[in-house]
Amino acid sequence: MFEKIALFFLSLLGSRFKVTVGLFALTVVAVVSVAGFRGSATRRTPIELFPDMDRQPKLRPQTASAFAAFADGRSSRTVPVGTVAQRRGFSENAYWEDNAFNTGKDNGAFVEVGPLPVTAEFLARGQQRFNIYCQPCHGAQADGNGGITKKLGMSTVANLMDPRIIKMNDGEIFNTITHGKATMMGYATQVPPEDRWAIIAYVRALQLSRLGFEADVPAPELAKLKK
């Protein structure tokens, strides 16, 4: 149908016009063959048509900076030694690293239990964070059977159900998360202190669920489980 109309129009026209239209069609084909289609993979940096104020001289995180005072040439600064990042809405952490909340230590000794109150919300947060940061190696049950351990060359992963770790002070586990231990590296940059305490609370809950006695479960809950 469309072709017929086009042909009818073309038949009206002289040969010079046909050449013009032909050349035009050729240009379109050439453009399409060079420019390709939407969404095809390309290594070319996207063009910015009107670079109005697209890229301003302000610094973005994780980019290079020519500012003379930043000797390492990075826009993101590293945390000065011994200090603690301040987060809005979180009053527990003092300005300096040196307290039980930030180190797990009180006067040089590991604290026995974490400083934050354990609530259902806190445990849920701990579960979520555990599944993000610890589960790949330690496994969802914390038994040392995470997805990447056995087959892929992480043979030393610890079983957190081990009596040694059950008996360990919260503070020492906190220290392991912060600084790592032997072949496990530290998670201080990825997991902020309050999440470390939440993870520990959750690990304790997992240990209890494995090692608790029937008498520990309240009667109504037990009835539900027995069903």
Binding site: R38, G39, R43
Partner: protein
């Protein structure tokens, strides 16, 4: 009186008109097709300095996005992980593999790995990851199926109309917050209910995104 215009000139005006319409239409089509972010950005896949694969790490090994992009739910900025994050595993796994030479060097010297940034809104746009991620908007809506990519590719246009389409109808995209990093989640949820219960009101006024 002699004729000023030869006979063929009678057809000149309709011919030129036709040509103008033709050229105009095609040029308009070309501009809309080629000069919008749907063409200029989508498909951008720069060569990265290390052959890091999201498909292996996320899909096969099951590592959550937040293990590496750990600021995504706490700040506006979703960080690219430091070499030390890779070394958590690669100090033991593939520890002499040449593919990871740059990561080891960066870890030892502190010199950053020169990853090429792919997604970039203009600097006059205010964007914030945590407001979206903590309101049940999954990465997949703005970044595509990263979990299937061996090399990250720009999958969505991230143009102003793209943002607004969702801000006008968030119930189409919203999901429970703990599923935002499950990019392949295909379940059903009552979006209208969630939008109502959480009082989700994405701004549509200019100052939401241009401040």
């Amino acid at each position: 009186m002699p004729q000023i215009f030869p006979k063929w000139a009678n057809q000149l005006a309709p011919k030129l008109g036709l040509l103008a319409v033709l050229v105009g239409t095609v040029a308009m089509a070309g501009v809309t097709y080629y000069l919008t972010p749907k063409y200029t950005r989508v498909g951008y896949q720069p060569k990265q300095p290390v052959a890091f694969s999201h498909k292996i790490h996320n899909e096969q090994l099951g590592i959550d996005c937040r293990y590496c992009h750990n600021n995504v739910d706490g700040s506006w900025f979703s960080n690219i992980p430091a070499a030390s994050t890779c070394m958590n595993c690669h100090s033991l796994i593939l520890k002499d593999d040449p593919k990871l030479a740059l990561v080891r060097e960066s870890f030892a010297t502190g010199k950053p790995i020169p990853w090429v940034q792919i997604h970039k809104v203009p600097d006059y746009v205010y964007f914030n990851h945590s407001v979206h991620v903590n309101r049940g908007i999954s990465c997949v809506h703005c970044h595509g199926e990263i979990n299937q990519m061996d090399e990250v590719q720009h999958a969505k246009p991230l143009s102003m109309s793209f943002c607004l389409d969702c801000h006008r109808a968030p119930d189409q995209k919203i999901r429970p917050v703990d599923l935002v990093t499950q990019l392949d989640w295909k379940g059903q949820v009552d979006g209208k209910q969630l939008v109502h219960d959480w009082k989700v009101q994405p701004g549509q006024s200019c100052s939401t995104c241009h401040r």
